[in-house]
């Protein structure tokens, strides 16, 4: 995901500006001294300045390196693998309370391993055994209340 410094810098300028404007409604201390807004405003301004400099540096060095082949992204295996990780964690967040850790955890690991070319049977066995171990360690030994979901254990 290497994109041009000029673009990254511009992104930081925008972020800095957004942060600054976000603090405009903050209350002030007595006698009008800045309070909660002071630190974020300084940081936001610095971010915009640094981002601008980075953009300038990128333009001057003619850094147009855009290693992301945007149009062929859907065929890039590394990108799809990364998406599987993201989707897996998101699915975990939204479903674990309904299905429980034992099911959801094993599903996430299995999907990822399967995507990373582990043979399905091996992936299934490893996923179930490993997930049960994690469950035992965290839920039973460390007493973390992992969501039970539809299971009782």
């Amino acid at each position: 995901m290497k994109i041009s410094d000029a673009v990254v810098g511009a992104g930081f300028v925008a972020a800095g500006a957004l942060i600054f404007t976000g603090t405009l409604g903050y209350p002030t201390l007595e006698a009008g001294h800045p309070g909660p807004s002071l630190f974020p405003r300084i940081l936001g301004s610095l971010m915009a300045v640094f981002g601008g400099l980075l953009s300038l540096q990128g333009l001057r060095a003619r850094d147009v390196t855009d290693e992301v082949a945007w149009l062929r992204l859907h065929k890039n295996p590394a990108f799809i693998n990364a998406l599987v990780v993201l989707a897996g964690v998101l699915a975990y967040i939204f479903l674990v309370e309904h299905l429980g850790f034992l099911i959801m955890g094993a599903l996430v690991i299995f999907t990822l391993m399967w995507r990373l070319q582990v043979r399905p049977l091996k992936a299934a066995v490893v996923a179930i055994v490993f997930n049960a171990l994690v469950h035992f360690l965290f839920a039973k030994v460390l007493r973390v209340p992992l969501p039970l979901g539809i299971l009782w254990w």
């Binding site: 630190f39 640094f50 540096q57 990822l112 490893v126 973390v144 209340p145």
Partner: protein
């Protein structure tokens, strides 16, 4: 002092702690030896476990784990030309060239002994420097702490990166994360977007796990199913010839041990930077600089000593001022806060046993490194054959459960994911991730001390410069800020001085 060390020894030799030390050693050696898993990632993954421990074993486990991991990073550097952790990157080519010349055993032997000696040197310096600095630090007020934190922030940007601009941006991102939540002056909620979970701020632990764990998994996704060609090493007698080599380069070891520890003490510069600088210094003063990069055992002695001595140095500012020396000690500071302990000079008086336990565990870890390291080298080819596609999937699960375990909150798992994406994107664009963490730790220190000072003096800025210690720190900080200007000034000066 002696009785404190004895007390620490007694505590550390309880069977529970010995078991902790052994397990953390194995964990550290494994993480270090497997490319793609870093010591920082391991520390972040340890945190959920330390959450359930007392402060003492928690600190001991991080010390042991990190020392072992930084050594073990040398193993794949020599065997497959991939550094196990970034700290071994400086001398990876030299290690591998020597392996190709059939000297793998010597390289690994030198690696383990230099790591142990470097670590011990760092530990001794930590034991002498930290209490002295703590005495000084007792006189500090909010003004001095403000400058100290500012100095720490600047050092992070100036030393720790190829591009100060990018490091600066990363630092600002971290500082901004630290402003999320209820503010210190008025209790006004900042950047919370109406989300209750954000009122207490972005939790440090899931953020760390995301930045160092999940981003690393995402990066490994491209190569997770690949296997490396492993050079078979018998490692029958890795200690043969090591003594002569080290005796020949004893001055190098002393120099690099000191240099490494010093770099460790500087905020923000960790073991990887120590190795690179020691490597450069070694080449500069070497009688055979032409060998560097082509199999110089001298470079391995220097950089291998420096990166392990740096680890102990990193604890000096962390314990004395609460300012992290590197990303691992940033995690340590997070752990201490989690335990309700404030790192700083008071900890030397209130919790001396904790401080001494850190000293003693550094010494134990570095002595244990020799036998444990020997065994790790023995089984190294097995460790390198662990299928990484299964490993990465398993680590993802640990990241998820670990982030959840701190507050039992799925929101934190979301924080972890967001930070993972951020960390991945930053790294891909040459923006270092470590300054984000330092920013998150130092942000509240800078802001709170500034605000307290301002309100205390009714917005009299001169106080920041008129107190003697504050003035010295201020000058140092301002000199650091001006660092990018020096080369330009120097060039001007050189031009005007040279006859036209």
């Amino acid at each position: 002092m002696i009785e404190n060390i004895q007390a620490a020894l007694v505590m550390l030799t309880s069977w529970k702690l010995l078991l902790t030390i052994t397990l953390c050693s194995i964990f550290g050696l494994f993480v270090g030896a497997v490319p793609g898993l870093t010591a920082t990632m391991a520390a972040a993954l340890l945190v959920p476990f330390t959450f359930f421990m007392d402060p003492l074993p928690a600190l001991v486990s991080i010390v042991t784990m990190s020392a072992m991991a930084i050594f073990a990073g040398d193993i794949p550097a020599a065997l497959v030309r991939i550094p196990g952790t970034p700290s071994s990157a400086a001398y990876t080519d030299d290690s591998y060239e020597l392996t190709k010349q059939g000297k793998a055993e010597l390289v690994l032997g030198v690696d383990v002994i230099c790591s142990a000696i470097g670590g011990l040197m760092g530990a001794v310096i930590l034991m002498t420097a930290a209490p002295l600095l703590a005495e000084v630090a007792l006189t500090f007020t909010s003004f001095e702490y403000f400058w100290l934190a500012a100095l720490g922030l600047s050092a992070t940007v100036m030393i720790a990166s190829i591009s100060p601009l990018k490091a600066g941006l990363a630092l600002l991102v971290g500082l901004l994360f630290s402003t999320v939540g209820v503010d210190i002056t008025l209790g006004y909620p900042r950047f919370t977007f109406g989300i209750t979970e954000l009122l207490n701020g972005v939790d440090f632990i899931p953020a760390m796990i995301g930045l160092f764990g999940v981003s690393e998994i995402l990066r490994n996704m491209a190569s997770a199913h690949l296997k490396y060609p492993i050079t078979a090493v018998k490692a029958e007698n890795i200690f043969r010839g090591v003594a002569e080599t080290l005796w020949k380069y004893k001055a190098n070891m002393a120099r690099s041990g000191l240099l490494g520890t010093f770099i460790g003490v500087l905020p923000g510069a960790g073991a990887d930077i120590a190795a690179w600088i020691a490597y450069a210094v070694s080449r500069r003063f070497s009688k055979e600089p032409e060998k560097f990069g082509k199999g110089s055992i001298e470079s391995i002695v220097d950089a291998g000593t420096a990166n392990n001595s740096c680890l102990a140095g990193d604890w000096v500012p962390a314990l004395v001022f609460g300012i992290p020396g590197d990303s691992i000690t940033a995690i340590v500071i997070g752990v201490l806060y989690m335990k309700g302990l404030r790192p700083g000079p008071m900890i030397f008086q209130e919790q001396p046993q904790l401080v001494y336990a850190v000293y003693v565990s550094f010494i134990i870890a570095n002595i244990l490194m020799v036998p444990f390291g020997y065994l790790a080298i023995k089984v190294s080819s097995t460790m390198l054959r662990v299928p990484r596609n299964i490993l990465m999937s398993a680590i993802l699960m640990f990241c998820i459960v670990g982030s959840f375990a701190i507050n039992n909150s799925l929101f934190d798992v979301g924080i972890m994911l967001a930070m993972g994406i951020l960390g991945y994107f930053f790294e891909a664009n040459g923006i270092p991730v470590a300054p984000i963490v330092l920013g998150m730790v130092l942000g509240p220190i800078v802001e709170q001390n500034f605000m307290v000072s301002m309100i205390k003096t009714r917005w009299d800025l001169t106080q920041f410069f008129t107190r003697p210690t504050a003035a010295i720190l201020a000058v140092l900080a301002i000199l650091t800020w001006l660092a990018p200007v020096y080369p330009i000034l120097f060039r001007r000066f050189a031009r005007s001085a040279s006859p036209a």
